[in-house]
């Protein structure tokens, strides 16, 4: 898939991979299997939509691949590097450099303005102020929030907050963006515009997107569909490769 002069989608590229990924929780004397032996591969530039009913293990899967949680067994590999042996500090470094996160409830820092929220990941990377400001301004313009840069999250609508969250997820130029129910708290029109934005950014920046959702409308934006049921991953049919230029 050609995009902006770059060859983006490489079949067989194992940018994100899970091997026999399982997660169990102890509930009293019982063991709950939230995820069972999930094997999954996503190449760079993919846009995967993960469906499944409530409690099927979608969010658990997202938490594990975003390395904010550790699997009970199995392995998450990012750029073919295993993550299970990494320390807390190394995992934090991995998250800030390679992973962008978008949450259902936006999870913006309430005391920071829209621009500062977007700037925060760059601050963690100790990027110089001038460069930070330049990148923030550019990305806010790209998500259509240039005029609202100084507003606090409480003064933004749901759609605007999610755009800020998307900009924050992308500002550090991650290799993968993981979104958990990004349209759940938005009306259908705003949800559609947010998904269009994410898809556009996927095409433009060649960033891998994994989107967990209940929303059937989100599936329209997927290059590939995956379903999780009872903790097991079901990949129904062939990969759907959407030509971003079409």
């Amino acid at each position: 898939m050609e995009n902006n002069g770059r060859f983006c989608h490489v079949r067989g590229d194992r940018f994100l991979e899970t091997r026999d990924l399982s997660k169990t929780y102890a509930m009293g004397t019982e063991t709950v299997h939230a995820l069972r032996d999930v094997c999954f591969v996503a190449p760079q530039g993919d846009f995967v939509v993960i469906n499944g009913p409530s409690g099927s293990g979608k969010t658990t899967f997202l938490n594990l691949v975003s390395v904010i949680d550790r699997p009970s067994t199995g392995e998450v590999l990012i750029e073919e590097q295993p993550t299970s042996s990494l320390s807390e500090r190394e995992l934090a470094a991995l998250r800030k450099s390679k992973i962008g996160l978008i949450f259902q409830s936006f999870n913006l820092i309430p005391v920071l303005s829209a621009a500062e929220n977007v700037e925060y990941p760059l601050l963690l990377q100790r990027i110089e102020k001038h460069e930070r400001r330049k990148r923030v301004a550019g990305l806010l313009a790209e998500v259509g929030l240039a005029d609202l840069a100084k507003r606090r999250p409480s003064k933004l609508s749901g759609g605007q907050r999610q755009r800020v969250a998307i900009a924050r997820a992308l500002i550090a130029r991650p290799k993968i963006v993981l979104a958990d129910e990004p349209t759940a708290n938005l009306d259908s029109e705003t949800g559609a515009s947010v998904m269009e934005l994410m898809r556009g950014l996927n095409d433009e920046h060649c960033v891998t997107f994994l989107v967990v959702t209940h929303d059937p409308a989100v599936s329209d934006y997927a290059k590939r569909h995956v379903r999780i049921l009872d903790g097991r991953l079901q990949e129904g049919g062939e990969d759907v490769v959407v030509d971003s230029t079409s």
């Binding site: 904010i68 949680d69 500090r89 996160l101 999870n107 913006l108 005391v111 500062e116 963690l124």
Partner: protein, 403 residues
């Protein structure tokens, strides 16, 4: 950003922040006020002690410790000259005088009282009691059989300047000696004990009465009370080098009252500070624990974005640093206002063992500010350690699930 994120978080929860600052400031202000009051009281007692003992005294340890069997502690004129010469090497030295004190009986009419008769160098400017004279006049160099009598004793004997009293004592040879003395003046002193027991007579006449050319101590005046301990060490070294079996003791070593009171003040302030610190510690711990608990999801978000545990700790600990700094500084300001207001009231009271009311006051200075400031700062920072560590150690997924 590491500086102003905590500040903005504090501003966002203004009510809780104000409560925390008020608690810290209140604790600091109370500590400041109590310390300022105790320091002022200590200053008054110090001034009174130095007025009674001089900065330091040089004498035989037998005299200091009341272990003399005879009069072997007396210093000859040669000893005094040697000591005086060594004092001129001391930079802080201002003046010196000598004293000779012995017990005696004073009688007026049919009233008799046990007293201490102290022979002093009149008009020496050092412990000559001239500034304490409340009736009559101070002793003069050319006075012979004159006496300065304490106000309480004068009242007890019903005498006044111009009256005569009789003093009876034992000379160094063991003979009895009695002499009439003309009351030149009456002095008032902070201590009732001094006023009722101490008679002052001219040194030369005292030596005549006691039948000696010696004195029992050399009293040294220094230009700075803070130089006393260091001066004592240097003077003691010179005395030892001169081969004299004498010791130099400072005013506070000679005043058991000051020592006891000072220890009591230290204990009082220590207990109060501890109580306030514990109170501040637990209240701030409670406030911060609640504040951080409410922000659990925010902590999860920060960690999910790649913020390390150390950085989360730093963010939350910084909030308590701001709280502690602002609260403690406001507390010091509050303490100053409280102390100034208290001084303005001019409240008088009669301390035990004194004869004149003294004005209750506080002494405001850097030293009274530093300790309460540091104590409140430390208590607040310690109280934030657990909540900040707890925040930093939260599991990211658990924190993100928080409502």
């Amino acid at each position: 950003m590491w500086l102003w994120i905590p500040l903005r978080s504090l501003w966002r929860n203004r009510r809780r922040t104000l409560l925390a600052i008020a608690i810290i400031a209140f604790g600091t202000a109370i500590s400041f006020f109590v310390l300022a009051f105790l320091d002022s009281s200590r200053d008054q007692i110090r001034a009174s002690s130095v007025a009674e003992y001089g900065n330091l005294q040089i004498a035989s340890p037998l005299l200091f410790d009341n272990k003399a069997e005879g009069f072997e502690y007396l210093l000859s004129p040669d000893h005094v000259n040697l000591i005086t010469e060594s004092l001129y090497n001391e930079a802080s030295f201002v003046a010196r005088t000598v004293q000779l004190e012995f017990p005696g009986l004073v009688a007026s009419g049919n009233r008799t009282q046990v007293v201490r008769v102290r022979s002093i160098e009149p008009e020496s400017g050092l412990i000559d009691f001239s500034e304490f004279v409340v009736a009559g006049r101070p002793l003069r160099e050319d006075d012979v059989a004159s006496v300065l009598i304490g106000r309480s004793l004068a009242d007890r004997l019903s005498v006044e300047p111009g009256d005569a009293i009789t003093v009876t004592l034992t000379t160094v040879d063991g003979a009895y000696n009695a002499t009439p003395l003309l009351i030149a003046g009456v002095y008032g002193f902070a201590s009732e004990q001094v006023e009722s027991q101490l008679l002052l007579i001219p040194l030369r006449f005292g030596q005549l009465l006691f039948n000696t050319t010696g004195v029992d101590r050399v009293i040294v005046g220094l230009n700075d009370i803070r130089a006393t301990a260091a001066a004592r060490d240097r003077i003691a070294m010179q005395i030892a080098e001169a081969g004299l079996p004498l010791e130099a003791r400072t005013w506070d070593e000679l005043s058991p009252f000051y020592q006891q009171l000072s220890s009591y003040f230290d204990l009082l302030f220590g207990f109060l500070t501890l109580a306030i610190s514990v109170l501040v510690f637990f209240i701030i711990l409670q406030v911060l624990t609640l504040a951080f608990l409410e922000r659990t999801r925010e902590i999860g978000t920060l960690r999910a974005l790649g913020t390390t545990r150390a950085e989360v700790f730093r963010l939350f600990f910084s909030e308590s640093v701001w709280l502690a700094l602002i609260g403690s500084l406001l507390g010091v300001a509050g303490g100053i206002i409280l102390s100034l207001g208290f001084n303005g009231l001019g409240i008088e009271w009669m301390p035990p063992g004194t004869v004149e009311p003294s004005v209750l006051a506080t002494r405001i200075g850097l030293s009274t500010a530093v300790l309460p400031f540091l104590v409140s700062l430390t208590a607040t920072l310690f109280s934030s350690l657990y909540p900040a560590l707890h925040a930093a150690r939260l599991r990211v997924v658990d924190a993100l699930r928080a409502e």
